[in-house]
Amino acid sequence: MWVRKGERDRALGVDSPIPTQVVSNEEFIPRPQTKKQKQVEDLIMEWGTARAKKLNMSRRAYMASSMGLCTALLASNCVYGQDTFEVGEDEAFEPRETEVVKANGQKGKFFIIDVQAHYSNGIALNFRNSETARNMGFSLKDDVESYSFRTFTKEMFLDSETAMVVISGVPGKEEQRGADGRVLEGAERTPRGAILPSWLMAQSRNELNAMAGSQRAMCQGNLAPNHYWNATTNSIDKAATIEQMERELNQYKINSWKWYCHTDPARTGNGFQLDDDNAQWFIEESRKRGMKLISVHKGYSYQSRTLGHLANPKDIEKAALRNPDFNFVVYHSALKHGATDGANWKEMNEYNPETGDFLWHKILMDIKRNNPQINNVYPEIGSFFNTLAIQDPVMCEHGMGLNIKTYGADHVVWGTDCLWWGSPQWGIEAFKRFQIRDELCEKHGYAKITDDVRAKIFGLNAAKLYGIDVNAQRNALPADALTRVKQAYLDRGGLRDNDYHGWVQHA
């Protein structure tokens, strides 16, 4: 039985500022906690409890603070025997300028845009009934959907320094017309339910921006080349695809497409590839309408012979070369992490500690190595940086080092895959302090991670892709309603929950 990491932690009395094992985002079978991860967990609890006592704080408050986060990163360094995270012992007792209360884009050093943020009506949330949640100015409906959205808003904006989010798609098609031929609207378009259909992402983005009084959210559109299909001719239904394309662009005003080549919402019996004829037709139609940004899931795949291989990033090469005016953001940096690799995941992913290569990340790297002229491919690091940071810090150093060395620091894009990982703040703190050890830099030619590099990855690269004026945003956000809500939340003692929503094995 799989349970959410938060459930597991509560059952064991664990309150950890970082996840103490990898959580499944439902794209792979959860892995058992390793001995080292258990050691990290035990150290965090031991040190955190003692330090909270020393500071005369409750353990709950300490573990929700940046001091607690630093304690967790120190524990990771201690167990893995290296300083993957540059954190001083003093930070476990005294917060630096990066404390959440001073940040949120306007005062923080980094302007953080998370291009892979999800919420789901399946996430069990504790926020609605909490003391701090009451009378905070949320003008949301009181249903399951808004219940989840409320926690999304809390964990992304109140509990983290994230300034802007891209609500990222989960595959699913919309029904266009009812039996009477009437054009369907809103929830009618997903009568069997859906996690994050395009209409809902657009609605949530609008709601969030209206509540904030500034642009805090963008959204993706799920439409892909295999969503509308003529079963008689076994070919793409171009008329229906164009109708939906125009709806998502003109009515929903999506900010990017989000594609999953290995999924089949239209029940065609197959997926698609970025370099096949249907995808190219879609790209050309999208070009005519001005949308030239495609975000695509690659990596994390299942063993199905029919669909699994379609998440291999090999098709990026031809599509990127053929469409140099488009940008392709490759989610998860194509980290394969097969569905059934379990405890021997490194072997199954063909991780080579000598070269730093692993499946299918190497294929993504080879595309650029073989085509240095490619300038329109961007590795995204949601459930890549955070997964590897928890699973194996050295492998994380290789993965990030290779991304930056191969594609350039101006082409690596911050994403988290939260809320699977709870509030993204732990990943933000980890990346602020993340460093590649000298030995790997010397041997592999990786560059040290500087604040300039962090600033690009955290938000400046995504800002270029999405056409965001960062300076204007930095001026607007301090005065917006969401910043005021955040201040009220913090003034009332609001605390991050250290509640991770992805799946792990039952305790």
Partner: protein, 98 residues
Amino acid sequence: MTEPNWNFEGEPPFEPRTEAGINLCAYFDGMPDAKLKTFDPVMSDEDLMRWDGNFKSDGDMLLPCTESEEVDVDMYRRYIAQCIRYRDRVRGMLMAGA
């Protein structure tokens, strides 16, 4: 013992083919024959979920990368019944060739 190269996924679909169905067929192709033989169709839903081990506390199966729909116990029962028929039909032939 070497597991034969099962290919229930490649069988003609017994109900309209869906992404979840394709992935569930692939899931059963990865299930050892010895385990599948212990499946008892009369077991309760709770026992089935325990027997399989890949169900979530919300009652649906964690079938990776099945993004468009959930797999519940009813769907699981339909597919495993067909998979058992498939294996009974091809086992002898595949074992001979294994």
